[in-house]
Structures are given as structure tokens and as C-alpha cells.
Amino acid sequence: MVIGFFVGIILLILLIIYNSLIGMRNKVKQAKSGIDIYLNQRFDLIPNLVECVKGYSKHEKEVLDNIVQLRNEYINNKKNNNLKQAEILNNNINKIIIMAENYPELKASEQYLNLQKNLSKIESQLQAARRIYNHEVTNYNTKISIVPINIIAKIFGFKQEKLFEIDEYKKENTEIDLG
């Protein structure tokens, strides 16, 4: 009778912990899908951005081709794409923006100004989504690291999630060889 009571209590605690972990993992997934929306919006602007920059700068063909290739890989591999790939692609967009600062004519063109406006709008939304995601991931990772929850997490296959790091658009961040 007493043993049954204690087993019942333990099972109840297990159930509560399991459900809370599921809830937290779902929050992480939800936050990740928020990031995906803004990443896709941002990456959809790449062809236009590349076309626009190509018209003014002939020396950066390699950089521009590289980003187009990265974007195509990202789209073709959408099901398996991870945040690391997205980080690289996103940071490459920032490189192009910084590169464009060396071409006053490009910077002044209406098409580029519109693109930059859209990019910075999505960048801000992406940063906001990233903060939400990283906050949820930190909470989740902390929870599954605490004793004895870490044991339950291991049994049920809850794994640590990676934080999403992207470089904000900063001039001093990247150095580009302008040939």
C-alpha cells in the first residue's frame, strides 16, 4: 500500500516534469519557426540584391556568386537546413551591404535604397525573433541540465538545443577583399 503510494507519487512527478519539458521544447520549436519566417524573407531578397550590386561593381563577382550558391543550397536543402547554414548565409548578406558602402552610386540608387530598407526591416524582426528563440533555448537547456531533471531528459531523449548567433550589420565586423 505504502510502496504503491510512493510509486504513484514518483510517476506523477515524472509526468509533470515530462510535460513541462515537452512544453518548453515546443516553445523552442515555435520560436525557431519564427526565425525561419524572417530568414526566408531575408534570403528571398538575395537575387534582387545581387542583381542590384552586380550592375555597379564588377570586381565582386566571386562574392556574389558565392552567396547565390549558398542561397540555392539552403533552399534545396530546406528540410535538413540548420541554423548554422542560415547564420553563414545571413552574415554573407551583411558582407554585401558593407561592400556596397564602397560604391556611392550604388548606395544612391533607388532600387538599392528600397532593398536596404526592406533588409533592415527584416533584420530588426530577425533580431527580435532571435532574442525570443535564444531566451527559450537558454531556459530549455538550463532545465534539462538540472539534477535530477537531466536524468529524466536523457531517458526521454531531450537534447540540448543550439543558440542562434547572427552578426548584426556592423561596418567593423567584416573585411572584404575588394580586389
Binding site: 533592415s120 530588426s124 524582426q125 533580431q127 527580435a128 525570443i132 535564444n134 531566451h135
Partner: protein
């Protein structure tokens, strides 16, 4: 925009306000002297009266003290009507000191100390509290960067409740719901979200609660946003730091609502823009600094939010 120290020195060196204050202080001293003489006179009469008609015991002291306090309060109230110089000082305090303080931050300032803010404006952010008494004065209108309209005023809201006892006697209780400064800044762009920042853990079980990525910020504030992304875009690390700094510096409880094309700020700071005791100088430095901090915070935060809304195309 001048620093508080510079502004305070300017006020202290203003000969006009200094002269008015000196006259008011002189008048106060004279009135105090008269009240003291009347007190001594009353005490003598009471002592003579007690000695002649009543047998002295220590119990007599209590009614004597009561009579004296009552007469003193009465004399103080009556004296207020005759304090011409103090009235002049109060007017000058508002027109010269407070107005210069406000003009330090805002353009086209219109400060009407007797006028209140319309109740409809205060009701716009829909604070979740019931009140049936509304008082307002010290209405300020101005512009931020000559472009964005801002209005603020001192507001007091109360809930007056009348309860009937079993025996039929009625009791009226009054609860203060809010007393402090309320400000509204108009933005030239409407945001498609409602953001509320509170300080007293009001939103613990609210559906739209937004958990922020700063543990320090979470310690003091609770945030509710109908659109979490916009909420995060507006509450940048810089803005969150400003809110924490203001809280730590002033310990004034405040809340913020950003909705449609307006920013609403409410400071639970009690009476504002009133002069302190004359003996504390032309203007009480501590009190004036509190006013400065509230105005400065309102100005900086409004500017930052407007800038963010424009920069990020919210």
C-alpha cells in the same frame, strides 16, 4: 539640453525669483513670530483661567494642549489667506522654475498650472483599474524635436465607495488608485500592436506575457505584447537598460503603454511641480531633481521609441 546642475545653478542665481523668495521668507518669519506671540498669550490666559476656576491637576494639560493645537492649525489656515508674498512666490515658482525646467526638454511649451488634462486622454490606454473621482492640474503641452506632440499633467484618481452597515449607517471609503504624472506622446506612425510594461507583477498569468532576455529587467518589470516581435523590437537592450537605470535612480514606480500611434507613461510619484517649504531655499534641490529626472526620462524614452519605430519600419 542642459544638465540638472547647470539648470539648478541658473535657477539659484536668478535674481528675480530670489527676490520674490526672500520677500516670501520674510513674510513667513513675521507670521510665525505673530503666531508665537498669540500662543504665549493664549497659554497665559489659560493658566490664569485654570488657576482661578479649576483645581490644577496634570489631566488639565491634555485639553489645554488640544485647544492649543486646534488654535494653531486654525491660525495657520487663516494665515494662508494673508500670505500675499507666498502666493507670488508660488506663481513665480511655477512660471519661472517649472516652466524653465520643462522648456529644457520640450519645444513650444504651454504650461497651464490651473488647467487639467481631459479624462478621455487618461482613459485611452485603458488601465485595468476602476475609479469614480478624477482630478487633474499642471497641464503641459509641448513638442519633441519640434515635431511630436506631447502632453502631460498631474492626475489623481480615486475610488469612492459607500457601504451601509447592518444598522443602516453609511460609511464612505476613498482609495487612491493613481496619483502622479501622466504623459502622452503622439507618434506619426501607428503600430500594429499593444505593448504594456508594468512594475508590480500584474501580468503573471496573462496569455500575451512576453519574457524578456534580461534577467535584471525581468526582476523589475512585466511585459505584455499582442505582437511579441514588435515588443522585442521596441524593447532593445538599450531601452531595457534605460528603464532599469531610471528605476534604480529614482525608485519611482511607473508603467508604459505603447499602442496605435501613442506612447503613454504613468509615474506613481504623487504631487508634482509644487514648491517645498520656503526654509529649504529658492527651490528644494532634491525635489527639483526628481522633476528633472521624470521629464528627462519621458523625453529620452519617447525619442528612442520614435527613432526605433522609424529605423525598423515597424
Amino acid at each position: 539640453m542642459e544638465s540638472f546642475e547647470n539648470l539648478y545653478n541658473e535657477i539659484n542665481n536668478n535674481s528675480k525669483i530670489k527676490n520674490i523668495w526672500e520677500k516670501a521668507r520674510k513674510e513667513e518669519k513675521q507670521i510665525n513670530k505673530k503666531i508665537l506671540i498669540i500662543n504665549i498669550f493664549i497659554i497665559i490666559i489659560l493658566v490664569l483661567f485654570i488657576r482661578k476656576f479649576i483645581e490644577f491637576s496634570y489631566i488639565v494639560i491634555i485639553p489645554v494642549l488640544f485647544i492649543l493645537s486646534f488654535i494653531n492649525i486654525l491660525m495657520y489656515i487663516v494665515s494662508m489667506f494673508f500670505r500675499k508674498e507666498y502666493k507670488k512666490y508660488k506663481k513665480a515658482y511655477k512660471n519661472l522654475i517649472i516652466e524653465s525646467l520643462i522648456s529644457n526638454f520640450y519645444d513650444d511649451v504651454n504650461y497651464l498650472s490651473e488647467k487639467g488634462m481631459p479624462r478621455e486622454i487618461y482613459d485611452e490606454p485603458r488601465y485595468n483599474e476602476f475609479y469614480n473621482k478624477f482630478y487633474s492640474d499642471d497641464y503641459i503641452e509641448g513638442k519633441i524635436n519640434n515635431k511630436y506632440n506631447i502632453c502631460m499633467a498631474e492626475i489623481k484618481t480615486e475610488e469612492e465607495e459607500t457601504i451601509k452597515d447592518k444598522d443602516g449607517t453609511q460609511h464612505t471609503t476613498t482609495t487612491i488608485k493613481f496619483h502622479g504624472i501622466f504623459a502622452k506622446t503622439a507618434i506619426d506612425k501607428s503600430i500594429n500592436s499593444e505593448l504594456k510594461i508594468e512594475q508590480n507583477g500584474k501580468f503573471i498569468f496573462t496569455k500575451n506575457k512576453l519574457e524578456m532576455d534580461s534577467s535584471e529587467f525581468e526582476k523589475y518589470f512585466d511585459v505584455v505584447a499582442t505582437n511579441k516581435i514588435i515588443g522585442m523590437q521596441l524593447l532593445t537592450a538599450d531601452v531595457m537598460e534605460d528603464l532599469i537605470d531610471f528605476q534604480n535612480k529614482t525608485h519611482i514606480k511607473f508603467n508604459i503603454v505603447i499602442k496605435n500611434n501613442s506612447i503613454y507613461l504613468r509615474f506613481h510619484c504623487g504631487t508634482m511641480f509644487e514648491p517645498d517649504a520656503l526654509k529649504k531655499g529658492v527651490a528644494n534641490k532634491k525635489q527639483l531633481e526628481k522633476y528633472y529626472n521624470v521629464l528627462n526620462f519621458t523625453y529620452n524614452l519617447s525619442r528612442k521609441i520614435i527613432k526605433l519605430i522609424h529605423e525598423t519600419e515597424i
